[in-house]
């Protein structure tokens, strides 16, 4: 599966269908999808790296915790993250690194305010050779 994500029609909010050849990649691509909606990521490089370690009772809740953690960091530390590496992933723990740039010099890149990632209809599906999940963002 080459494609990282696609948007689908949701009346009030924004829906994305995220793909990943592995669960790790699914988590990375979900984060990419969220920031791709938030801001124009094209050509962003360098400079900030941040490490994350999160726990939750299952993969689905872990995924939302991961997205919400990134979103919180975007709003509080003003960092646009554009690349993600999931280093370790189990059913109840994710360890990851994200690469970003500060918002201040990239203000004109901001597109859509995302309030949160929701749990609505959340289910990670295993296809033959890839994973897929639909996520609704409240915008």
């Amino acid at each position: 599966m080459e494609k990282r994500y696609e948007q689908f029609s949701h009346t009030a909010d924004i829906g994305v269908r995220v793909f990943g050849n592995t669960l790790k990649e699914l988590f990375e691509n979900a984060a990419f999808a969220m920031f791709d909606i938030l801001a124009d990521l094209d050509g962003l490089k360098g400079e900030i790296t941040q490490d994350f370690e999160l726990t939750a009772p299952n993969y689905e809740e872990l995924l939302i915790s991961w997205l919400d953690e990134l979103l919180y960091n975007f709003y509080s530390k003003k960092i646009i993250f554009y690349r993600f590496e999931v280093l370790e992933l189990s059913e109840d723990m994710v360890r990851a690194r994200a690469f970003g740039r500060s918002v201040s010099e990239n203000r004109n890149r901001l597109k859509t305010e995302i309030k949160a990632a929701t749990y609505y209809n959340l289910k990670i599906i295993k296809r033959d050779d890839y994973y897929e999940v639909d996520i609704i963002f409240d915008v």
Binding site: T11, E61, Y72, K78, K111, T112, E113, N121, D138, V139
Partner: protein, 484 residues
Amino acid sequence: MPDWTGPLERIDEYRWRIPRSYMTGMRVDGVIYADEKMIGDVRHDRAAQQVADVASLPGIVKHSLAMPDIHWGYGFPIGGVAATDIEAGGVISPGGVGFDINCGVRLVRTNLKETELKPKLRDLVYALYNEIPAGVGSKGDIKVTEKEERKLLVEGSKWVVDHGYGRQEDLEYTEERGAIAGALPDRVSDRAYERGKHQSGTLGSGNHFLEVQVIDEIYDGEAAAAFGLGAGQVVLMLHSGSRGLGYQVCDDYSKSFIRCLAKYDIDVPDRQLACAPVNSEEGKAYLGAMKSAANYAWANRQCLMHLARGVFEKVFGMSPGDLGMDLIYDVAHNIAKIEKYNVDGKEKLLCVHRKGATRAFPPYHPDLPEKYKKTGQPVIIPGDMGRSSYLLAGTKEAEETFFSTCHGAGRRLSRTAAIKACRGRSIAGELEKKGILVMSSGRETLAEEAPEAYKDVNEVVDVVTGAGISKRVCRMKPLGVIKG
């Protein structure tokens, strides 16, 4: 997406039932307010299923309701109303309030006539756009210490008025006087404080807006006069919420409430409907945090109105007295409220969730300001930026909806579909031809918010007035629009 094929039984011209028998777990029927034409649209997404899902909340009484501006949300439908019986273990659900806690609208009158506005419209729209912080990550005017912020969360509008942002009488004309009692600022996480910092007095983005409108139709002269309104008069409408603070409160409690499902043995069809009994420790904590966020939102709208008044004074070179910019009313449309109702002959304390629905108290309700006793509560219904908005009033008949009514036009197209439909077009140019000046800080906001992305608010209002749950007072058309 395939159409929803569940049962929608016609009760009368404006009401449709999803019977309890449709789905295991439904505790009450679902009732959707819509006319024949709209109900077809309702089937095109998952909103009706969400009405059925909400009917499974423990303690829900009467019906799981949806107003005619119903559309697909997450967990609850937008336009959803659900009341739970607190004594009977009724629950509160953070998802039933939503991320933008106390998102709401306020309407401000002016003494200006359309003819006086027209020559200065462009100056006014530019000045409002420049003076009022809007857009993703914008910073506001009010800087407060953490200790003061906690006071703001308890005192809401009063705190900002006491600090010079407005007048004492503004409080009288704000739902809950701009501060709902029982806020618990220590139930708001550090993260929520952090996200809300510097955001007091910011409009936000997306569908949040500020509109300069003119009254083009009066339906109830007596009520309009009581509200200080007449035909041709200019008004200001403002739509905003609790910004990052509210989003984070919902986020925190949506997450922690998933654990409550097992703890209280609650079965709901979706995690976003996670809930806890209102009377549980968790329920009380959320309610206290939600009220804090609601008060933050009232303070925010109060501050925005104050900034806008200043802009009007400057642009028109008029004193506040000559401008007559009195607040008509401020209503919340994403909130849970503890209210008393008669259910099956008994008075009960209910937790009323309004998720994209407006409280609409009837004439002589004790919570109304003296001036509005006869008219009922003003209900502000923003439409889209190209057509109309409405001012309605509450009615006695709305007891069947726990004194709730619609909150807007309701989206018809998704944001992506709207952007697609607007590709290659200048929405600002099209609106300007109609005499409407629009400015926006978001790149794609104007396409996302294009008039055709919304249902026709006239049809939505036809349903709520036809069903008797509100009455028309007057209609406004937009002249100047600032979008976040």
